[in-house]
Amino acid sequence: MNAGPPPPLFVERQTYRLRRLRDAARALPVLALMLWLVPILWSMPGEAVSASGALIYLFGTWAALGLSAGLLIWAIERAERRARAAEDEARARRETAL
């Protein structure tokens, strides 16, 4: 009774999903940094980049990054909830099984 049965497989899956989402949350600022360093290339001698193009690029990436950050956080919270729920359920099942 001291060592309960191993947690069911699908809990592992939930945890796995959560970890990958957290990895994505860590990777997102790196992507943002890369995207926002692109303008350095524009100041290289050569063909000049128009202001409107620059504006569209920067604000487009800005909105996309902000929204994907939001989406990611929403997904993380959902995954956390599910992992918790699955854990609770598994625990409940273990307890009733005993």
Partner: protein
């Protein structure tokens, strides 16, 4: 044209509105309705104090002067927020866990509660923030001026600035120092700046929408106009683009006001999670229309018009007074919210790291001095707020509100960014030491002062003109804009490069070569392992501490009610019955942390130290815990495992011992019983055999009688020995089962016949259900029959009814075949029911014959057969249920 008075009235009304918002929020917080005050959206909006008047007005000016460079100021913080999972999350958690009150407190607390560092960071913050506050005052006065007569004189501006400063200090004093909260959270202020955040975003968007759709005629036209304007080409220097983005990201973390709203006012991860994506979008929106507004201003307004005021002057020039007023309120909001939060943050730092330590030093017994320290703390906060604003005003008045101020934003950023290496090193690197932090911040601060801050006043103001020409004392390598011969750089980037790189190197090297004190190591472990080590900080040896003195002090800082609640809670935790807990190191830590929420870590440490007496923590005491938190935790986990193991072993041993004791008692009782059962028949045998041996005068009848007694008692002995052997064999499991098939009815017939053969006991009527008995059993039928015989014989012996009857019923259920033996006698008393299956237990009269082993044997037999026998209470007589397992049973053919 709106008059200055009307504008003043509008501004005043707006301020009254903010007062109301703050007041309502504060009252709600007081009543405990904090849910909506802590809503993540409020937190997110409060972060917008990053966008001050410098960005509200200045971004357009910056776009006009430097093109797209203005975007870096917003991109940096957006990066930090999007990367919340890397650093902010940890920073915010540490802030919550350690009750951090300001960035100076964080640095001081991390590096061994060093007040020197606290003072240093405070000074840096004050020096870096004062011009910034002046900038806000300037922007408000300039924006007021736009509405006033063009030829108004400077004294008017000073008056405006003065009244704005006075009003802001009033607001901040009222809502920023309302209470000395252990959590240092200001719901009223935060709610007010959240409202201001909405106002300024709305105002800027309104102006932008007006410009893009009202003036330019749509998005594509606006983009075309932008391309055609002076801003039409991307011309940002790569170095400045990267440098400014990094600088603003650093400043976002280090600015005292940002730290205040982001870390100190935070109370949940949920807040940060919303802000992490919503705040970048907020900043995107804030900067979205900057370029169109700049282009419109360049097109519409006469050359030489101040681009810093385009946000106001563009709508005004188009006769959009309402929009202009809205824009004014937006700028006003930006300026005031920044000043308010900056003043709170700075006053907390000044009060906790400068005023309180000085005050404590001046009165050595201060902590135990009667009187309310809270008044002192609050007073020092209030004076600090007024001092900070006065300083800002004086700076504004002295600098004359010139163009020098417009560059001060980035200068200020650079100054405060000097804290970054110590901050990041502090929360990510265990090896960071106080010496490293001091060295890094010191060198960075010095370079910043020399290469950026002092020159920002202009040549010849503080640094002489000669310094800018040939370097100090003619040493070219020390030229403020070309240190160590690195010339040709933009002065800002030059200063950023040198100050931050030398800062980081000094921080790193000094950390490497120095050795941290025990407290530093403990704090370092706590900060770096913030997620792991929630407890474990041990700082006080606390032998001489008097709980009562601590109580007196805590009451004066936390307030009587809070302090008593805290002490009571801790006393309960220790298991002490009164109000005063023992001054254990754990309690002192908790108390210190609570106090730190009000007066900062260093001061709280000093105050507890005054009472406890031992300021120093002995190295020996701490070595065990200070060495490596990981090791410490592993060790403690191991210890815990060992102690659990020990507990388990001890329990097992105790159980084994109990069992042995029980067995020993049982064995004694058993032997004693056996002795009795054997000696009783032997007594008769011996007595009668002696009689027959010694007496010649026995008549034949007597002789025959005595011989038969001897004979019967011998049989009794034999039966007893048989039973004992039987039981022993069954108990040891050495029995060989002889599995055969037999119909239950046949088995019962034999059992009834065998039981009747025993002459002892009354005649009993037996009721049977012959149909149900037509079941073929596959089991050791002889053993099962033995059980049946025993039960029937028992019924004959013990049934005390006038007309004794035994009913045998057979039913089948999931568990197997159930055979009940129920007689109509008095049954077995409740107490006796528990023991009838024990050896030698006999109910009632001993004369009934057997040695009391029958039911014990039955139980053993049924256990061997995989079934069960038990007493059935409440059947109106003695009732026994025999269960034969299903596996051994087969349906009738």
């Amino acid at each position: 044209m709106i008059t200055t008075n009307a504008l003043a009235a509008i501004a005043l009304t707006y301020v009254m509105f903010l007062f109301t918002v703050a007041f309502v929020a504060e009252r709600a917080a007081r009543r405990g309705h904090v849910d909506w005050l802590r809503a993540p959206i409020v937190y997110t909006l409060s972060l917008s104090i990053y966008c001050t008047a410098w960005t509200f007005y200045g971004a357009v000016g910056s776009a006009v002067r430097g093109g797209f460079e203005y975007l870096t100021i917003y991109l940096g913080p957006s990066l930090v927020m999007i990367g919340w999972f890397w650093g902010l999350r940890k920073l915010v958690r540490i802030g919550r866990a350690q009750r951090i009150t300001s960035i100076a407190d964080l640095i001081s607390s991390r590096y061994g509660k060093s007040n020197l560092l606290g003072v240093g960071v405070t000074l840096l913050a004050v020096i870096g923030t004062t011009p910034y506050i002046a900038l806000q005052l300037q922007s408000v006065t300039l924006s007021v001026d736009v509405f006033a007569h063009p030829e108004s004189d400077g004294s008017n501006q000073l008056m405006t600035a003065f009244w704005v400063a006075a009003g802001l200090s009033l607001f901040t004093v009222i809502f920023g120092t309302r209470n000395l909260d252990a959590n240092e959270r200001h719901h009223g202020v935060v709610m007010a700046i959240a409202v201001e955040a909405v106002v300024k975003l709305f105002a800027l968007l309104a102006v932008g929408v007006f410009v893009v759709w009202g003036l330019m005629g749509g998005v594509s036209e606006a983009l075309a106009r932008v391309d055609a304007s002076a801003l039409g080409q991307w011309d940002v220097q790569g170095g400045r683009w990267v440098g400014l983005t990094m600088l603003s990201a650093a400043a976002f973390l280090c600015l005292p006001r940002m730290f205040q709203v982001m870390v100190v006012e935070n109370d949940s991860d949920a807040q940060l999670r919303l802000a992490a994506w919503a705040f970048p979008l907020y900043m995107g929106l804030m900067s979205l229309f900057i370029v169109p507004i700049a282009v419109a201003g360049l097109d519409l307004l006469p050359a030489g018009a101040n681009p810093d005021l385009f946000v106001l002057t563009v709508p005004l020039s188009q006769g959009q007074e309402g929009l202009a007023v809205l824009s004014f309120l937006g700028g006003f909001s930006s300026a005031t919210s920044m000043v308010i939060v900056a003043a709170i943050a700075l006053s907390t730092m000044v009060s906790n790291h400068i005023v309180m330590p000085v005050w404590l030093h001046l009165r050595r017994d201060a902590a135990s001095f009667s009187g309310d320290v809270r008044h002192v703390v609050l007073l020092s906060r209030r004076l600090s707020i007024m001092g900070v604003l006065l300083l800002g005003y004086v700076y504004y008045a002295l600098s004359g509100g010139g163009a020098a101020l417009s560059a001060i934003g980035l200068v200020s950023f650079t100054g405060l960014a000097q804290i970054l290496p110590a901050l990041l090193g502090g929360i990510f690197w265990r090896g960071a030491t106080r010496s490293g932090a001091l060295a890094g911040i010191g060198i960075g601060f010095a370079i910043w002062m020399y290469a950026l801050f002092l020159p920002s006043f202009g040549e010849g103001v503080i640094l002489s003109r000669a310094v800018f020409e040939t370097g100090p004392f003619g040493i070219a390598a020390l030229h403020p804009h070309a240190l160590f011969g690195l010339g040709g750089l933009d002065p800002l980037m030059h200063a950023v490069l040198w100050s931050l790189s030398l800062n980081t190197i000094a921080f790193f090297v000094a950390s490497m070569v120095s050795f941290p004190s025990p407290i530093e190591r403990l704090q370092g472990a706590q900060f770096v392992n913030a997620d792991l080590a929630a407890t474990g900080r041990r700082g006080w040896s606390g032998a001489a501490a008097q709980s009562e003195d601590l109580m007196v002090m805590a009451q004066r800082i936390l307030g009587a009610r809070e302090a008593q609640a805290l002490f009571l809670r801790e006393a309960r935790k220790q298991g002490v019955s009164g109000l005063l807990p023992d001054p254990t190191p754990q309690f002192l830590e908790v108390l210190e942390r609570e106090l730190a929420g009000s007066v900062g870590a260093a001061t709280a440490h000093a105050m507890v130290g005054q009472i406890v007496g031992s300021m120093r923590v002995s190295v020996e005491d701490l070595m065990a815990v200070a060495d490596e938190t990981a090791q410490m935790m592993e060790y403690s986990a191991r210890l815990e495992a060992q102690s659990q193991e020990l507990t388990r072993t001890a329990r097992q041993l105790r159980e084994a011992n109990d069992k042995l004791t029980r067995l020993s008692v049982q064995k004694d009782a058993f032997l004693s019983q056996i002795s009795h059962e054997l000696r009783t028949p032997m007594t008769s045998i011996r007595a009668f055999s002696e009689i027959m041996r010694d007496s010649d005068a026995l008549d034949p009848g007597q002789r025959a009688k005595y011989a038969s007694i001897i004979h019967d008692e011998t049989l009794r002995l034999t039966r007893l020995l048989d039973d004992l052997l039987d039981l022993s064999v069954l108990e040891n499991g050495q029995v060989n089962l002889n599995i055969r098939r037999e119909r239950l009815s046949d088995l019962l017939d034999r059992a009834v016949a065998a039981a009747a053969a025993d002459e002892m006991g009354a005649c009993i009527r037996i009721d049977r259900s012959t149909i149900a008995e037509q079941v073929v059993l596959e089991t050791d039928v002889d053993r099962l029959g033995q059980v049946f015989i025993n039960l029937i014989a028992n019924a004959r012996k013990y049934c005390d009814a006038r007309d004794p009857a035994l009913t045998i019923t057979v039913t089948e259920d999931a568990g197997g075949l159930v055979i009940d033996f129920i007689d109509n006698g008095a049954g077995v008393s409740t107490e006796a029911q528990d023991v009838i299956f024990e050896k030698f237990s006999r109910v009632g009269d001993q004369k009934a014959g057997g040695a009391g082993l029958g039911l014990a044997i039955c139980r053993q037999i049924m256990a061997r057969l995989g079934g069960d026998i038990r007493y059935l209470p409440g059947q109106g007589g003695a009732a026994f249920r025999v269960i034969v397992p299903a596996a051994l049973e087969q349906a009738a053919e």
